[in-house]
Symmetry: none
Subunit: 265 residues, 2 copies
């Protein structure tokens, strides 16, 4: 008794696609919930999960399924073996995002990982100066994307200079993710390039809160161009391996320190 294309129901493949989306956005799926929300028997759902697991797209567990740790990392992020670490950081960073917020995302590979990890259909607005981030979001769904234009610096991978600065004046964001820069508990946030730092400063100013996501090598160092004092940084996402002392130094300055899960692939 197979009533397949009943109006209002989902196509088999469509159902599987939806399951994958939920996996990405919520981190898990429950067979019984899926059966209820997508209209299908639990048997069909189980078949789907089995099939997806066989394709290596998720991990089958009792009661439902979980995303595979390195599930959605096809081939665009081959910037070294950092991928696992950056993904772990990105997951933690994304947990700070709430529905409906406006995010200001700077260029950079870590931030690209964050953008790729953002949940769909949360009503998020993303403002960015990086074409790769914009492109990644275009290919997904449910994002309002605002691109900052200007001359593109190929080393940075995004627009810099007066124009994006000017466009930023018209933007007000909830959360800001300035890209790779140095951070120090005493002196605050620093950048390596003059133009770049100017833009990051403007980003921080245009946002309610600032989230710094830092790989270990960015810690405690100071660069040449000042971006912001430590008081303007509300959140700091660090790798699992960072010691307690370093974390405490930031906490003492009023920064919420978030620790990523160990990058277990």
């Amino acid at each position: 008794m197979a009533r397949l294309t009943r109006p209002g129901e989902l196509l088999p493949q469509e159902r599987q696609r939806e399951i994958l989306q939920r996996l990405r956005s919520r981190g898990r799926v429950v067979a019984a919930e899926l059966a209820a929300e997508l209209v299908a028997s639990e048997d069909s759902i189980r078949r789907d999960l089995r099939e997806l697991a066989a394709q290596g797209l998720c991990k089958r567990v009792y009661g439902g399924a979980l995303p595979l740790s390195a599930a959605v990392a096809p081939l665009k992020q081959r910037r070294g073996e950092q991928v696992g670490r950056k993904l772990a950081l990105a997951r933690k960073a994304v947990s700070l995002v709430r529905p409906g917020q406006v995010l200001l995302i700077d260029a950079g590979s870590t931030n690209a990982a964050i953008a790729a990890t953002l949940p769909e259909r949360m009503g998020l607005t993303v403002v960015t100066n990086a074409p790769d981030i914009a492109l990644a979001l275009i290919e997904r769904e449910g994002f309002e994307i605002l691109l900052l234009g200007g001359r593109i610096d190929p080393r940075i991978g995004g627009a810099v200079g007066a124009q994006p600065l000017q466009e930023l004046q018209r933007v007000r964001a909830d959360l800001c993710f300035p890209g790779a820069c140095a951070i120090d508990a005493g002196t605050g946030l620093w950048g390596f390039d003059s133009e770049e730092s100017l833009l990051k400063r403007a980003m921080v100013e245009a946002s309610g809160e600032t989230v710094v996501v830092a790989t270990s090598d960015k810690l405690g160092t100071v660069a040449t161009h000042r971006i912001a004092p430590i008081e303007e940084v509300q959140h700091l996402v660090l790798e699992h391996a960072v010691g307690r002392q370093a974390r405490a130094a930031f906490s003492a300055r009023g920064v919420s320190v978030h620790r990523a899960e160990p990058a277990a692939d």
Copy 2:
């Protein structure tokens, strides 16, 4: 029993276009529904879907079809016939570019192929509203890239609206490549979307010369929004298969017609 041009019914190509449109707007199509709403047998609909899938325009699934925007592995399916054709067009289009010029490249898959075909180290400056085009050029070398910012329309794959329009005021280009639109020897250049057409118009105005690169289905048709009269189009790049009559019609209007090499698949 083929009643082909029956008034009120849809031509095969019209039907396929409609299917693609529904695919974009609703995210899925069901074969049975299509057969009912467009007036055709399910066989014909299935044939359409198979054909569209073969061209890489959708993903065929049991019961209907899905857009491949959220598809898992888009890379391996970029081998459809469209790619060969677009590459042949792109090669011809690029031959019109001279060293040191400033190019204005609109969003669209054909234009992306053009950008990918541009020679490096020719001192070219590229102005574009499409993140994918900007990204492709970043990863190569020897290009000056200027990104037009603004709200991004995911269907178009680039910035549209008032902001890129305004930024265009400050740009003067040598050559302009407005993206996919309809062209007719008598009435000129037409677009399908209001906002989009406005931007294309501004692009044409900001450039010394305009190059229209058209796949065969764009020929002789007229859409709803006027972009420019035929006098403002200096070059037209057509596929090899386009007949002599059609080419002559444009030549007579003062358009330089360039014929792409046959697409060697």
